[in-house]
């Protein structure tokens, strides 16, 4: 990769970082405490209970 192309990519990268650092829940969507609870219950607690109850 030649020098100007590297520089161009780096500039592009810096612009992107500035844009993305300014984004918030409005642009990226939220993931609330309730989402966390739902995932923990559905993907950890219930499966763990199932695994426990079928062990013999």
């Amino acid at each position: 990769m030649n020098e100007p192309k590297v520089s161009q990519t780096a500039s592009e990268l810096e612009q992107r970082i500035e844009v993305i650092e300014a984004l918030g829940d409005a642009e990226l969507g939220s993931f609330t405490r309730w989402d966390w609870w739902l995932c923990i219950v559905a993907a950890v607690v219930i499966p763990a209970i199932l695994l426990w109850s079928f062990a013999e």
């Binding site: 970082i17 844009v19 650092e21 984004l23 642009e27 990226l28 989402d35 950890v44 062990a55």
Partner: protein, 489 residues
């Protein structure tokens, strides 16, 4: 600030999609339906058949179903939460999500694990392709020798190479055609399975090769399920990075990669139990008869090629992180990546039989990494990265640590692997007494997470802004107003 960069060139957008530049929200392609579709397409690949087949060695249908579904859900949760949330928030490629914890150069160590995972899967899937070729020839009345499987692996490698060197467009076309066909094959298997066998027969079918202790067989199968979920580490970052919202990054992965994949694994498990073979290519003709079985076998064989193509392509992108592979031509790079798969040509069956150990080995590799990411991104950094530092290779960067490597993370990773091997050695099948009380993948996730958390609290540093990095630079910042001194792209 406006989301749009004033003049984003198409080349930069392509470079972001297929390279390491963070993706802007406008460039992300997956809404809710798109995310479910993409995850579904990933989930129902032929490796589900392998996992189901291996589970049939250990337990019967009911226990196997519980292990695969519940285990996969837990495994996908462990790998998805930190990785997908980080990749989606910052539009990062998944290795870059690991940079804040492992260091900007430390992630290259993780690449080795990533490659072992991707190329190992490719080899196993190609043996399935070779077995498929053998069974197709047998169904057509030939009497193929043992060498046919190895030759099939070589043919599969060649076809995969042709596919990936034609570019991502051909790979996408092939995947778009093959995925629905594979879905039809699975429905076909499900239909013929329950047409030929009652649920009582399936539930009563004994496991193929269990341990003398049934509890050990069950717990090893639990491990198979969890490790299978964790082994999605290789794909969740890519999928999440392309989603528009955080919920679209998480829920489709849990529903499709964990739940739907498990359902397909269960179809494979039931087939393997009643047909008494862990080789998926042995199931089609007995289930559907010669005509339908042969057709299904051809689809499965083709699906193996596209799955291998996807793995090779992803591996090719990943090794671009490494200096020697940054400039090498794509075709040559693919040839280099095929070399580690060549042992499968010469010892296909021996290596195929090690597949369940390989799956467990994924737990040793990715469990600790996921634990460290969880501790780092969720608990230590409260879901906030310094995006500048991820792309900064100057020593002032927050994630540069010691010559680019965070040895706390690497040490925690090694501790996690040692914990896993201590509890369960996937190579020999030996277990410690504690194996009966704690799952090895869970232990290999929790222990390094805790070690990393405590060690970083005591020894780590947490600069949060570019200003904090600037303080270290002593005027070394570039004069042209740029913020990165040594950008690592």
């Amino acid at each position: 600030m406006s989301e749009q960069i004033s003049h984003t060139p198409a080349a930069a957008e392509e470079s972001a999609t297929f390279g390491r530049l963070p993706l802007l929200p406008s460039e992300r392609v997956y809404g809710t339906i798109g995310a479910h579709n993409a995850n579904f397409a990933y989930a129902i690949a032929t490796w589900c058949f392998l996992t189901g087949g291996y589970a049939a060695h250990l337990v019967g249908a009911v226990q196997g179903m519980v292990c695969l579904i519940a285990g996969n859900l837990i495994g996908v949760f462990i790998t998805t939460m930190p990785l997908a949330l980080g990749a989606q928030k910052y539009g990062l490629e998944q290795m870059d999500v690991c940079a804040p914890s492992f260091g900007t150069k430390g992630i290259k160590i993780l690449l080795l694990f990533y490659l072992i995972n991707m190329l190992g899967w490719s080899g196993l899937i190609l043996v399935m392709f070779g077995n498929g070729v053998e069974n197709i020839l047998a169904a057509l009345g030939f009497t193929p020798g043992d060498w046919v499987v190895g030759a099939g692996v070589a043919l599969g490698l060649f076809l995969s190479y042709l596919l990936v060197t034609r570019g991502v467009r051909w790979l996408n076309i092939a995947t778009t055609i093959i995925t629905p066909c594979l879905a039809v094959v699975i429905v076909f298997m499900f239909y013929f399975l329950f047409k030929n066998y009652s649920w009582e027969q399936i539930a009563a079918a004994p496991p193929l090769d269990p341990y003398p202790n049934p509890l050990k067989s069950y717990l090893v199968c639990v491990e198979l399920g969890i490790a299978s979920g964790i082994s999605w580490f290789g794909g969740v970052g890519f999928l999440a990075r392309n989603t528009k919202t955080r919920r679209n990054a998480i829920y489709p992965e849990i529903l499709q990669l964990a739940f739907m994949m498990s359902v397909v694994c269960c179809v494979a498990l039931f087939s393997a139990l009643v047909l008494k073979s862990d080789d998926p290519t042995d199931w089609m003709i007995p289930l559907g008869g010669v005509y339908w079985g042969l057709l299904a076998l051809v689809f499965v064989a083709l699906a193996n090629i596209t799955s291998t193509g996807v793995s090779l392509f992803a591996s090719g992108l990943a090794v671009r992180h490494l200096q020697p592979f940054k400039k090498i031509a794509w075709k040559r790079l693919m040839l280099v990546l095929i070399i580690p798969c060549t042992p499968f040509i010469f010892w296909p069956q021996d290596l195929y039989d090690l597949g369940d150990a390989f799956l467990a080995f994924n737990g040793t590799m990715y469990g600790p990494i996921c634990g460290i990411l969880f501790a780092d991104y969720i608990f230590l950094r409260k879901q906030k990265y310094n995006l500048w530092a991820i792309f900064e290779d100057h020593e002032s960067g927050s994630y540069y640590y010691t010559k680019g490597v965070n040895w706390i993370a690497i040490s925690s990773l090694l501790i996690g692997q040692a914990v896993y091997i201590f509890l369960y050695n996937p190579g020999t099948g030996e277990t410690h007494d504690l194996f009966f009380y704690i799952n090895p993948s869970i232990a290999a996730t929790l222990v390094p997470a805790l070690v990393y958390f405590l060690a970083m609290k005591v020894f780590g540093t947490f600069e949060k802004s570019i200003a904090a990095m600037d303080e270290k630079r002593d005027g070394q910042r570039p004069a042209d107003g740029k913020k990165l001194i040594i950008p690592n792209v």
